[in-house]
Symmetry: D3
Subunit: 313 residues, 6 copies
């Protein structure tokens, strides 16, 4: 059966689809005692409002924001928009493909190719072994290719982690040429690995959510633990190289107050931090400008992640 | 052969002993061209100055501060103190017992007993298994019992880690009674484990030194890695308990700027942070007061770790 | 006449009671011009909504949030909750027992006993005289036993100051044993006294409010002034002991940015600050976990006093 | 007998005078074993070096920096400067006039007059009573007129407190005219009183030193305690005026991190803080420029109190 | 034709006037599908609500908050206030006198006089030439006399820049007498010039708005650029005086975090910063107290610019 | 006449050369009263010690550190190093080529070429006109090619500004390709111009020194002033482009506390800030590692500009 997407719903259609529950609210009837249920349903293509007129309290109690729900409804036009008159709304517990609900980053196929080329380009055999081993583990590789780079702000898309990691690693490859004393392979490997903890930090179902591990450990520590267990499986991995890679992961935020327990202590770690910042900033400014609401003004509204208004003049 | 200790040297003695090289400096002869070598030698009982009049440049080049050195010399009196006229001074490369050079914390035997009693008192079987396994590994246990709690400031003594960990764990045991909603076993286990990364952070030979791992990862991350590998070896260790223990280690400094990548997120983690601070502060104030130099004033000099003068009135 | 409490009101009852006015709002009639008055009334057992349909503007103008009001009304059921149809609502100006409106801390009787035992246990005669004198003054003693520990966040309960002070003092008694160089009596006395300024910082009528003195001076300075006047009345109180006690009061927040004009300068002051923090943190984490709203998630909502979400997993 | 001052000593004179011991150091003889004592002696007019060739160790042990010493010596010329060959140097324990050792601020007589005129100008009877009472107490008045405004940096002169207080109060008088909603009498009284705690913060003998009270309480809290006891003695002093004055004292540093436990909460307190800053800054910049050492450069060296170099171009 | 002002509108009047559009909102009809437009209109005398019942979506789309609009309407009474039933509302694009929409500071005529007297009083010929030249340029002079001192908080009035600059300059003139080493002319000239960049930072039409230049450069940099171009036109203006004046402009906020790229480096720059702060604080406290809403409490609500509640007791 | 360089001086040579005076100190003769003058002389190739035995006080008074001095002397060997026995040392006042005294950055010729290619590559005609005009002014161009990038830390070499600017601009060119929404020409032009104020911030004679303009305005403001005057000379330069370029200069430090009066408000400004940081960090880490002193340890000493030790393992 083809899936019905939000942006395909038209007034007059009978809707039978699966959506993520974004908002739920009990509201009083205008003319009578009692409440109806107002919901917002969404998938990767957009959001639509819905109303459940009967059994609202009961439905409200058994559903949670973030649930995947199977909905039967009639689509109508209300005040110029589409609205669903819901007949039934039931929680779906089965396995769900998050790609139905969360938009994906662009250029994923190309990013995968670049990832493999970058790994193949490593002259340092130990680093190449480590990365080959890690990215050939099917579970890890799939998780890495699907994970977002954040729950909010920049790269909150399926595949965001992959795209961000490859962008930073490619820039690292480039920059290494300007600074001959930099160890190119260490820098590139560190760039690929720096955010791997994010495969544990986020969970994608109806939306991107932070996991308990994400909140209790964070991707910096989770990444160090993941890497440490991977290194354990590479025979004769040099101890000083292990310390350098682990250091690059834990120092890549650059400052204690940004949750790095160490600040960068050598050139490659410092470069990695700067390149990570560069891509994160570029992403946030680009998105802020792209998402500007008031087209009459050259300024965006307040951008929370940047704590400023952005100029698009 | 009995070892000669610094506090046993008297003017007139022929000295043949092993010491840690604390300071070395080339100084010009007063009446002629050329230099002599002025050194400070030390062990756990104190320090003594020495002079090498011949071959100073050569000796200075082959010795490093922190080396263990075998010294032959004559002890003389100079300006009211003992001074060594050195005949030969040679680096010792063999295995050395750091206990000769670094003073030990008091109450080590009692602290070991309390440690075992605290582990035995755990009702949570998984926590008891984990701690029993960890502290029954000979290498780890010996390292834990010998490690200092710091390279400077508080607990810079052999066994300082053990004493500090047990003091905090015992206080945790006590405090848990005041707050019935606290999980006593989790708190006590976390208290015992919170600083285990320090077995990787410091190296003790002639003095306490920070290792490369200590500088690149720090005891917070090293501790998390150590604990993670230990948990791997306990069958069926619950994932949520693993996250809680790891969180307690990485959050025990309490603030990002104090190098914790996460702040405490639950009661036991918060209590652990506070109890760690309490013992560290008590230790620093006690030592500052005990080490006051000017006995005519009720104030100590500037105490670096506390960034203040301490009142002893 | 027995007082009617909010949690005793049932639909159908005629209500004639005294409550604290928590919220007042003028809202427009749905079907006609003009406004009605929507109020929230409360006491220590809970809150209830009310509606005044006639004379709303006039009532709104003469009542203030925080007032104690005598209310006559009919209780009805509305959308599944109890609501009061108010016939009259009049401000009460007389003396009111705040215990009707503000919940009390648990264990007050036991806390009083522990307070007296702690004072009796002081071996230092000057400290014992000072505390005996202070706590035997009826006005002060009653104020101390009734005052909350805060207007919000932790210990915002009648008797909160007493319970907090005794908890900290008992912990101080305990901790003093671990650190033999600590002056146990000074520490215990300081712990009992550290927050006495709160008897001037808060006023309890229908709710806990900060006084002008609380806002202009704060409990740290008010506490120092109170203590200074008490010490004046103890014959031959030693000047250095006076300075130490005053210092413990003004430094107990530990940092300038937490409104202490001095940071702790000696061991007992440092311990007091840490013990105060420990109890405050334990209280905030416990309350946050106890008040968690979404029972499906192991995380609380955002906790303002802690600036984080708390994990209850 | 006329006192001999440092700036009157000439080579060839027999010196018999009383000085403050500023520096003492044991230095080795150049040509023989043993040490001599090198001292720096000073009074309000300057400093002079001295040498004690015999009995140096014994003298060094019995003298402390800061002592007042009676010295007999021969003045000689050495490397172009005056130096004292000391025959005897003995600690003086008696009462000493600090004016011999610490320079005095300029314009003290005029400042006293302005102080009395400002007090006399107060129209608010309660404020006038309070200030009249306080400044008519002989001990307090003398201490106020002699106290420095700081131990270092700005106003480290006898009478510095008086001059600073009067300058700020006169500026307050002026400024009050620009802001008609300011209470001129409250502002002027607060300005006169804001630093009175400094009579307890400093002790003047051979030099300005901070007292134990200064270090444990600080002039902000000492000032509040002093004022509170003075207010107690004014019949029917209004409670709100008491709170306002106390608030002005404790908030006059303006920020928590500058050791004010409250920030200014009303106009007069805010103006007082700004006027205090203005005079302190003017004093530090003027002194920095006046004390510039390298006359070839328009820049002073690093000025610690200002954390910058000052331009004098 | 006389202009109709908001505070002249009475129920029953036919309104035909020009206003600034302060708020616009589409709201659903209560009894039928579709929306009406709710607006707030304002001028310097106040604000009034309006309703447009027909063509709401179209009007909402073509109007922007901040627009000047010509309105035809009937004034009615609604819930005790005046409300406009709007017949037509059309954007006005022509030149508008902002004085109709933005209130003006008091004492503008006197401030202009004081400005000219202060310029005339300069003994330094170069400074007098510079200021005479600048303030004799008609465009600049008019902009300077009309500009506000801020978009929010203090001095958000037409002419606020003039009044603030003259107040600071007059205080500078006064203060210069207390500190004889201050260069009075430099200080007064710097005070007059310190905020000239604000003529580029704000635009006044229906309200005070920040310009793109204000947001991208800020008045500190714009002021330096303006001054630099003015100095270029004064023959033989000394380079060191140019640097001092420019420094006073860029350092007058006093701290990096307050957007000064340099901190004050000489006395006059330091005094200017303090005097600017004094006037800004006085203004904010006075306004906060004047604008207190709850007359039953001696405290204002939260004052954003001061980050505190202000006491008016 | 060929110039004598420090690294060409050998014991036994008669020296007649011109050097920069790095250090001067009066030291007492060992065996007699009076002083000799100890100096350190330097040029771009190194430093050498010198002694003036006669007329030391007079010479010390007439010479200043930083002076260029003509020296006649005999080179001797002393304690294994070369030392100059100075016969005469006289200040040189004439024009001096700083290239004799300050080392030059590598790759200057190539950097100039890349600069011209980058300017030629600009498609935006206004930007190309501006940069062509600016860099074709001989005085500015020479100053730009000679200026250092800093007085200390990174790029303290003649030509450092050129090399740094070109490196950043080339990286900008590269990065612009990754972010298609970036305006490549604006970014490259901003990168070339971002530090032009440094031609006014530093003066090179015997060493790199900060000018009065550097200390009073700083290169951020000086750069904006320079750019503004250059833009004035380009006909019809668009106002919005002027604001953007000026904004990029004043925001390139990225944070208020790093002396930027504005934070970056658009993508190109944000990228420029990050690229500037990247090159500065790379430079500091590379230099720190290259300058490591203790070759036995993988760690450098404390690096002031980075506030850390750098790992070179």
């Amino acid at each position: 059966m083809t899936e019905l997407l939000v942006n395909q719903i038209r007034p007059g259609m009978s809707v039978d689809g699966v959506f993520a529950l974004k908002v739920k609210k009990l509201l009083p009837y205008r003319e009578a005692p009692g409440n109806f249920l107002a919901v917002v349903l969404g998938d990767r293509t957009g959001q639509v409002e819905g109303r459940l007129w009967e059994g609202a309290e009961e439905a409200c109690a058994r559903l949670k924001v973030g649930d995947i729900v199977a909905v039967k409804a009639q689509a109508v036009e209300y005040n110029g928009s589409v609205q669903l008159r819901i007949d039934s709304i039931i929680k779906e517990n089965g396995q769900m493909n998050p790609a139905k609900f969360i938009p994906a980053a662009e250029g994923l196929a190309e990013a995968k190719e670049r990832l493999h080329r970058l790994i193949a380009s490593l002259a340092n055999e130990k680093l190449k072994s480590l990365l080959s081993l890690l990215f050939s583990e099917k579970d890890f590789y799939e998780a890495f290719c699907q994970a977002p780079a954040a729950a909010q702000y920049h790269h909150a898309l399926l595949g965001g982690l992959l795209v961000h990691s490859v962008t930073v690693a490619a820039a690292a490859d480039n920059v290494a040429r300007n600074y001959p004393c930099a160890d190119r392979d260490l820098l590139v490997a560190g760039a690929i690995l720096h955010d791997i903890g994010k495969v544990r930090e986020y969970r994608c179902r109806g939306a991107v959510e932070q996991t308990d591990e994400g909140r209790l450990l964070g991707h910096i520590v989770s990444g160090a633990l993941l890497l440490d267990r991977a290194i354990e499986r590479v025979p004769d991995f040099p101890e000083d190289l292990r310390l350098k890679l682990l250091h690059m992961i834990i120092s890549h935020h650059g400052r204690y107050e940004w949750q790095s327990p160490k600040r960068p202590k050598f050139l490659e770690a410092a470069l990695l931090h700067q390149l990570d910042m560069l891509d994160a900033q570029a992403d946030m400014f680009s998105r802020a400008a792209a998402g500007r609401e008031d087209k009459d003004s050259p300024w965006t509204g307040w951008v929370k992640g940047l704590e400023r208004n952005v100029y698009c003049g």
